[in-house]
């Protein structure tokens, strides 16, 4: 832990800010994610969590501040260039290729990572490594039975697994998970909880999640965002003892 913290962070921000009109959605956020990190981002609805993810992944450009991947400042890099730096994300609202099969969904990501996404001179079937990688991921996530079904025919829970499978197809060093369990009933979260818990320990993970029990069990670091600023950060034990966080959640009253 100390060794990892001493080296340069895989992903970091300094003074990151963005406003939508007069609304300051993210305000001077300093943040770092180390190799193998298990970091959770929590906060009430509208705290700016998804906006923060969009700033990290390049969907949005900050008004002020910087985003770095390793030592590289990536403010001006597009979404696809940041992917090539090893950053992958999932979406709170599933972004899937609905008329393609699970296998085809994962294959598209694998083809990009393998650098054959534009290949015109060989058939998909002759890219054996792509097929192998895609089926490995599908097997790991327990989607074998649905591998050749179009996404639109899958249950919502399975679709959320595919959402994750596509990101894993990129074999990222940094993985941003935006509410991977959003919309799945509490009782049916088992499979995706298992997958998230068993992800390669080398990957640096930032997870946005509302399920506090899961967050406290999964994360080693927690950042609490409120009104776009960092309200608190620390280990789960520190966050649990934090007065301001307790006040916000108790004061808000509506959470869970």
């Amino acid at each position: 832990m100390t060794a990892a913290a001493a080296s340069a962070p895989l992903l970091s921000t300094a003074g990151l800010s963005i406003s939508f009109g007069a609304l300051k959605v993210v305000q001077s956020v300093d943040f770092r994610l180390d190799r193998g990190a298990r970091h959770a981002l929590i906060g009430p609805n509208g705290a700016g969590k998804t906006t923060f993810i969009n700033l990290l992944s390049g969907v949005l450009r900050p008004a002020r501040g910087i985003v770095c991947i390793g030592n590289l400042e990536v403010n001006r890099l597009s979404v696809e260039q940041r992917v090539r730096c090893g950053l992958a994300r999932t979406f709170q609202i599933s972004q899937l290729f609905r008329n393609l099969t699970v296998f085809e969904n994962v294959s598209l990501a694998v083809m990009r990572r393998r650098g054959v996404g534009m290949s015109m001179f060989r058939r998909c079937s002759s890219h054996a490594v792509v097929t192998q990688d895609a089926m490995d991921i599908i097997g790991t996530l327990g989607l074998d039975d649905e591998a050749f079904q179009p996404i639109r025919e899958l249950s919502y829970g399975k679709q959320r697994l595919v959402e994750l499978a596509i990101a894993l197809g990129l074999r990222p060093r940094i993985l941003l998970l935006d509410e991977p369990m959003a919309g799945i009933p509490i009782g049916e979260r088992g499979p995706i909880l298992d997958v998230v818990a068993k992800l390669d320990p080398e990957i640096a993970i930032l997870i946005v999640e509302h399920d506090i029990d899961f967050v406290f069990q999964f994360a080693s670091q927690i950042t609490v965002l409120a009104n776009g600023s960092v309200l608190a950060r620390g280990t789960p034990a520190e966050i649990a003892a934090d007065v301001a966080v307790a006040e916000m959640y108790l004061g808000g009253g509506s959470h869970e």
Partner: protein, 338 residues
């Protein structure tokens, strides 16, 4: 659990290979349209002219299928590329005196492709309604340019003096149009089988991904505009080749080749046949032109009403076009027998 994990390594991959073979593999029935196309002029030598027109529009519709069917980009201006190809092939013969047909065809493909590359790099920055309007505006501008430049293009009076040497130095152009038919069929088959091979490639799979979900394609690292630009250039090239065939087969063109009606007709053919499956372009062009020819004989004034009615009925009853309807029936039969 143990068994399924081991299974993922071996049976999973072989299942994926079976799936890819089912998706992309050749079927025996695919020989049928080509055998029919070869047999057609032998059975009906007097209909070779109409047949050639069908083949040319099949190629044009195929070119459109790459961007409309696979990439999901709707354009109302594809005649611009057809027309650039037609005028390139026409002008090298009529104005430069170059009469060798195959080099004229290649020149037309290159000119239309280059035009597609340049215009596409601007057009493809836009999406949806803005893109449709821009394609319409662009093709109208090209049309008006050709109209204003009537000294060169011949305008509405047409480009006179397209003269072609014998094909490959061997086959004279006959009045019944059999040489033209064979020429158009050869070019169509070469283009089709190239696309048919390409349809199984990661490149075309990527286009389907862009059609399905652009945000996710970006999020997995795809340079969307570049990917689309290559597809657009390829499509424009094939449209130009179709236009060149049209100019050469008729030995005459007017600025009608650049007109909006042609853009609309080719899109109608594709929708009629079914988008994103290549064979839909072939079926749509065939049905559209044969129906239009038949209706025009019945009612020279109101035939377009009949074509419109046909399109409305097909789109309402079979949103995936004629081929989509056939696929649905086949799937139902398979389910019933299973």
């Amino acid at each position: 659990m143990e068994r399924s994990e081991r299974g993922a390594d071996t049976s999973g991959v072989s299942a994926a290979e079976r799936f890819l073979k089912g998706r992309d593999g050749l079927r025996a029935i695919e020989a049928l349209p080509w055998l029919a196309a070869i047999a057609f002029p032998i059975a009906f030598p007097d209909c070779a002219l109409l047949g050639t027109h069908v083949l040319i529009m099949m190629l044009f519709a195929l070119s459109l299928d790459v961007i409309v069917g696979y990439a999901g980009i709707v354009t109302l201006g594809h005649a611009a590329y057809f027309g650039v190809g037609a005028y390139t092939a026409g002008l090298v013969s009529a104005r430069l005196g170059w009469s060798e047909p195959i080099s004229g065809l290649l020149a037309a493909g290159i000119a239309a492709g280059a035009f597609g590359l340049v215009t596409g790099s601007v057009l493809l920055r836009y999406q949806h309604l803005a893109l449709i309007m821009l394609t319409l505006v662009l093709s109208t501008m090209v049309f008006e340019l050709a109209n204003a430049w009537a000294d060169l293009t011949g305008g509405w009076d047409g480009l006179m003096g397209i003269q072609l040497g014998p094909l490959l130095g061997l086959f004279e152009w006959d009045l019944r149009g059999l040489t033209s038919y064979g020429y158009a069929l050869t070019v169509l088959m070469a283009s089709f089988w190239w696309l048919r091979f390409l349809s199984a490639s990661p490149f075309m799979q990527g286009l389907r991904g862009i059609r399905e979900n652009r945000a996710r394609m970006r999020a997995i690292g795809t340079p969307i505009t570049f990917h689309l630009l290559i597809a657009f250039t390829l499509s424009a090239t094939l449209a130009g080749v179709a236009g060149a065939l049209f100019a050469q087969a008729n030995a005459f063109i007017t600025i009608e080749v650049l007109g909006f009606e042609r853009s609309a007709a080719v899109l109608t053919m594709l929708l009629l046949g079914g988008v994103g499956r290549l064979y839909g372009a072939l079926a749509g062009a065939l049905v559209f032109i044969v129906a239009a020819d038949w209706l025009a004989k019945m009612s020279p004034i109101y035939w377009e009403f009949g074509v419109g009615l046909l399109l409305v009925l097909v789109v309402l009853l079979y949103p995936n076009g004629l081929l989509g309807a056939i696929e649905r029936v086949r799937a139902q039969c398979r389910r019933r027998s299973a």
